[in-house]
């Protein structure tokens, strides 16, 4: 099992979610994150004084999948996440050793996504 972690733009998430759902991957989690990378900071002004912000808002997607599904997930994210501008984000893949479904206590690869008939 692998965990795909992606930092992407907010507006890229919706098409990614929809396509993953269609591909049979309804299960994922997201978190708000802020990141810095190649993009420059922006400067805000408040009653004449300045404030520089280096971190820009991103969405972090976390999705644990079977080893064979990693590429599908990555491709989908790349497809919808790309605008070509700096700040589009990064994708990382980490190893996962075990997984449990809390509802039933089952563990193993088959709990990662909803069973075909269940959805």
């Amino acid at each position: 099992m692998k965990k795909v972690e992606a930092f992407i733009r907010h507006e890229a998430f919706e098409p990614i979610r929809i396509e993953l759902l269609e591909l049979g991957f309804p299960s994922l989690s997201v978190m708000e994150a802020k990141g810095s990378g190649r993009q420059r900071g922006i400067t805000e002004r408040y009653r004449g004084a300045e404030l520089t912000s280096w971190l820009r808002p991103k969405i972090k997607i976390e999705c644990v999948v079977a080893d064979g599904d990693v590429q599908t997930i990555v491709d989908t994210i790349l497809k919808h996440g790309r605008t070509g501008n700096v700040g589009d984000g990064k994708i990382f893949v980490l190893p996962v050793e075990q997984a449990w479904r809390v509802r039933t206590g089952e563990s193993g690869e088959e709990i990662l996504q909803a069973h075909p008939g269940e959805g």
Binding site: H10, Q39, I42, V86
Partner: protein, 485 residues
């Protein structure tokens, strides 16, 4: 539809009703420009005072918003609007006639739909030093409306919206009018027992508090309020700034509430009542802050606000009867009462904004304090036949009357309201389901969070993520490299 039908029926009734009075109507007098300056002045003053009282709806709304959790903040808005709306129509149709219409010791029986100028003994032309009947209607309506709004303070975060729609017309149509008739107009408590209540410590606050207690007993606490061992746990409100705004708006409104209750700008009393109101509010804040500081070594924000309300509630009854120094005492005692009241009551029943302490207990204290501190001169002025307070007269007479007034009011309102709420509980139910309570009333009763951006994931909110790819614009020179369109 139903409402429209009702409205049309009313219309028909009103059109057919013969205009009962023989004297030239106010309307005609006014159109001919024959109203006196004094009547115009009194009416303008009382309408303006009533506007400040009306604004207390916003004050209470903000207090409640501040004291509930964010997931229930929106429901306060719908609640206030619906109750205020219902009260307007019902108090016009029947409530005002029952309370201030002429009739007898038990209930007014004239003046439904504000018809018939002579039906209102407190208003011009029957009381030519007073105000026009419509002015009186408005001033008394905003009192009824704020009393109704206060009732719901004990029920926040778990009551069904439908409960408002059933109880509000009953409260504004009959429960409140009965008490207002008995104590403010020419009912038996005032006429026979000389119960005194300048601006409503009893009529507004004890009434609201009694109804609030009735519904609370049936409703029970919010989920999780009491630990398994019965210990109360803090459920902090989510927004102290809006709470503070609410307190200040209420304080402002009280300067309409008490001074406007002179119903008169010409007897020179209202400016002193402004002073007296301020002193009691001041003392309430300081006493509550001081007591809390002794108890917890912190300056509790919510208690400071509750102290203000308690002081103002307590002075509402005696405002027109006492000297300024007494207002300081009355307000300070109320500030102490409210702190211990909130803490003690919290151990047993769950009263999110402190209605039982700040309105019921402080209202009772205010009513009784009149029996202690009323000066004989002012008592005689306000109601010939009534007595000065214990401090001046050495007599318990007025204090006794006040106690009777409190007990009768509490008993009548509590019993009648309990009956109504019991019936509601047995039929449609008073309380939302545990799931709905968990998820919050905003989403479960109103279909949308009060703060959508706080509760809905940003990728699903348009403008924060959910812009379909097809709407995206191409790349290009961007001033902020991190923003694509």
């Amino acid at each position: 539809m139903l409402l429209l039908a009702l409205a049309l029926a009313l219309a028909a009734a009103a059109l057919l009703a013969p205009s009962a009075s023989a004297a030239p109507s106010l309307e005609v007098l006014g159109l001919q420009g024959r109203l006196s300056t004094d009547l115009g002045l009194n009416s303008a003053w009382v309408v303006v005072a009533g506007l400040f009282v009306m604004f207390m709806q916003a004050g209470l709304a903000m207090v409640e918003v501040g004291f509930v959790r964010g997931k229930n903040a929106g429901s306060i808005v719908a609640k206030i609007l619906a109750n205020f709306a219902i009260c307007g129509i019902v108090f016009w149709a029947v409530g005002f006639a029952f309370s201030f219409g002429s009739g007898g010791l038990l209930l007014g029986t004239h003046g439904f739909f504000t018809e018939g100028q002579s039906a209102f003994p407190l208003a011009y032309p029957i009381n030519p030093k007073g105000v026009t009947p419509d002015t009186l209607w408005f001033f008394e309506f905003v009192f009824c409306a704020i009393a109704l709004a206060i009732v719901w303070g004990t029920t926040l975060e778990r009551v069904k919206f439908g409960v408002y729609l059933i109880y509000a017309p009953i409260f504004a149509g009959i429960i409140y009018p009965v008490i207002a008739h008995w104590i403010f107009a020419d009912g038996w408590l005032r006429a026979d027992l000389h119960v005194q209540d300048f601006a409503g410590s009893i009529v507004v606050d004890v009434t609201a508090g009694a109804a609030a207690l009735a519904v609370l007993l049936l409703l029970g606490p919010r989920r999780g309020k009491y630990a398994p061992d019965g210990k109360p746990r803090a459920i902090p409100g989510h927004n102290m700034p809006l709470f503070g705004l609410g307190i200040l708006i209420l304080w402002l409104g009280w300067f309409g509430f008490n001074p406007g209750s002179t119903l008169n700008a010409l007897d020179g009393r209202f400016p002193e009542i402004v002073l007296i109101t301020q002193l009691a509010g001041s003392a309430g804040v300081l006493a509550a802050l001081a007591v809390m500081w002794m108890l917890t070594k912190t300056f509790d924000i919510g208690m400071a606000g509750n102290g203000a309300i308690a002081g103002l509630v307590a002075i509402t009854g005696p405002a027109g009867y006492v000297k300024p120094w007494a207002a300081v005492v009355i307000g300070a005692v109320a500030g102490v009462i409210v702190v211990f009241g909130v803490i003690r009551i919290d151990r047993r029943v769950d009263d999110p904004i402190g209605v039982l302490s700040a309105h019921l207990l402080a209202g009772i204290w205010g009513a009784l304090s009149l029996g202690l501190f009323a000066t004989p001169l002012l008592a005689a002025h306000n109601l010939p036949g009534s007595h000065g307070g214990l401090l001046y007269t050495g007599s318990f007479t007025q204090l006794g009357s006040q106690a009777v007034g409190v007990i009768v009011t509490f008993a009548f309102v509590f019993v009648s309201s309990y009956a109504v709420f019991w019936l509601i509980d047995r039929t449609i139910g008073l309380r939302v389901s545990p799931q709905e309570e968990n998820v919050g009333l905003d989403i479960s009763e109103h279909g949308m969070y009060g703060y959508p951006e706080q509760f809905i994931p940003s990728p699903e909110l348009i403008g924060y993520g959910a812009v379909p790819a097809s709407l995206r614009i191409g790349t290009g020179p961007l001033s902020d490299p991190d923003v694509t369109a």
